[in-house]
């Protein structure tokens, strides 16, 4: 190893450190002990290394940095400990908000069994078209069929309505109960293909909220039908036809 090679390696050498344990450094240190010029260079080099290191270590650390690091970490830990609680509170708040919105925005389950809804639903059945379960003009057969299918069959027809021509019956559903649909044909002509133009729906009164209490009919226009609604016994009656109030009254 010549002098330049040794200097090159010894550039990395720091006195009083473990550098001398490095095999390359140890190999380069050996000629420095024998060669006075190299030894002098090494001494000066070590002094220079020491000074440079010392100067760099004089870089002043800002006052309060340690305290800042510790306090910010403590604050972070406090925030972390609050995070799950905050998430829980947020979740509870969201659930409450959604519950409140749902309460106000969505119809309540109990509101679907009112008289108005019942009327609209039954009129809808009559207008949209329906399949007649039994086609007959025999009131006995109609009552028997309805009884057999657990629909109200012990209904009482107004005397005038008994004079209308029966065409048949069907069983409809309402709030898990059965509705008897009795179909009639009035004297006037009906639409082509149509068999009935007067419909009577009978259901248990207890299944419809707001049902009229007395036997006095209440008239109302529902869709295109004029309807008469009354109660008799434990039954609610709904009679509808495409005409006016005077016309329907003749069947009551």
């Amino acid at each position: 190893m010549n002098c330049d090679e040794a200097k090159n390696i010894l550039l990395l050498y720091r006195h009083d450190t473990a550098d001398a344990d490095d095999p390359q450094i140890a190999e380069a240190l050996a000629p420095a002990k024998r060669d006075p010029e190299l030894g002098e260079w090494l001494e000066a080099h070590c002094a220079r290394q020491f000074v440079i290191g010392k100067k760099l270590r004089q870089i002043a650390v800002p006052a309060g940095l340690k305290e800042q690091i510790i306090s910010e970490q403590a604050a972070q830990e406090r925030m972390n400990s609050w995070r799950p609680k905050f998430a829980l509170l947020t979740a509870v708040a969201v659930i409450l908000l959604l519950g409140t919105l749902a309460f106000f925005l969505f119809p309540k389950p109990g509101s679907e069994d009112t008289l108005m809804v019942y009327q609209q639903q039954m009129v809808g059945v009559a207008l949209r078209g329906y399949a007649m379960d039994l086609t007959t003009n025999d009131p006995g057969q109609i009552r028997a069929y309805l009884a057999q299918n657990h629909a109200p069959s012990d209904f009482v027809l107004p005397e005038a309505l008994k004079q209308a021509a029966l065409t048949g019956c069907a069983v409809e559903g309402w709030q898990n109960t059965r509705v008897s649909m009795i179909c009639f044909r009035t004297a006037k002509s009906v639409a082509a293909g149509g068999q009935s133009d007067l419909w009577l729906f009978v259901v248990d009164r207890s299944s419809v909220k707001g049902a009229p209490i007395g036997a006095l009919p209440q008239f109302s226009k529902v869709n295109v039908l004029i309807t008469a609604t009354w109660t008799q016994g434990d039954k609610l009656y709904l009679l509808g036809t495409e005409d006016d109030e005077q016309a329907i009254k003749q069947y009551l």
């Binding site: 330049d4 290191g53 100067k55 800042q68 510790i70």
Partner: protein, 173 residues
């Protein structure tokens, strides 16, 4: 509570050396404080994963260096300065008066080194880190560290003293 005490002891032991290393890289007090803060913050979150407690120092310096490199990549606003031009900007200090240098002059010279030499040279002088420790901190092979140190130190001396030393040949770079 024990964790808190351990954390405070750790900060007390290393915040100074870490700051000096950060400052030697950034030459900016605020940036250096941020880097040190960030290193300890990462330690607080992930330090428990370190099983070999003797590696805490290396872990902290490595983390700080990674954060520094990451910040540099994001900012990409540090121009490379050609050494030949930069050398002219530095006050030339005669070899005999090296001990009259102040920290600012040494830092200025360090700043003129090529980027890949700055971190190993800073660790070499600041921390008395072994070559192996420097290699571990910078996550480069030992031979690469030695090569970078040799070239970096030679250039640093050249910048500080004005001596036109022959630059060592690069090895393992």
């Amino acid at each position: 509570m024990a964790d808190r005490v351990n954390f405070e002891n750790l900060v007390a032991s290393y915040y100074g050396p870490l700051y000096q290393f950060a400052f030697s890289l950034t030459r900016d007090e605020a940036d250096s404080c941020d880097l040190v803060q960030q290193a300890f913050c990462i330690w607080a979150g992930k330090g428990h994963q370190l099983r070999d407690t003797t590696k805490v120092k290396t872990w902290l310096f490595t983390t700080l260096h990674r954060e520094f490199l990451s910040a540099r990549r994001k900012e990409a606003r540090f121009p490379q300065i050609d050494l030949e031009y930069a050398a002219a900007e530095l006050p030339v200090v005669p070899p005999a008066t090296v001990n009259q240098l102040d920290a600012a002059q040494v830092l200025a010279a360090l700043a003129q080194l090529d980027e890949i030499f700055q971190a190993p040279v800073a660790l070499f002088y600041l921390q008395d880190c072994s070559y192996k420790e420097i290699a571990d901190i910078l996550e480069v092979p030992l031979g690469t560290v030695k090569s970078r140190l040799t070239r970096g130190i030679a250039r640093l001396h050249q910048l500080l003293t004005g001596e036109k030393n022959k630059m060592p040949k690069p090895n393992n770079l």
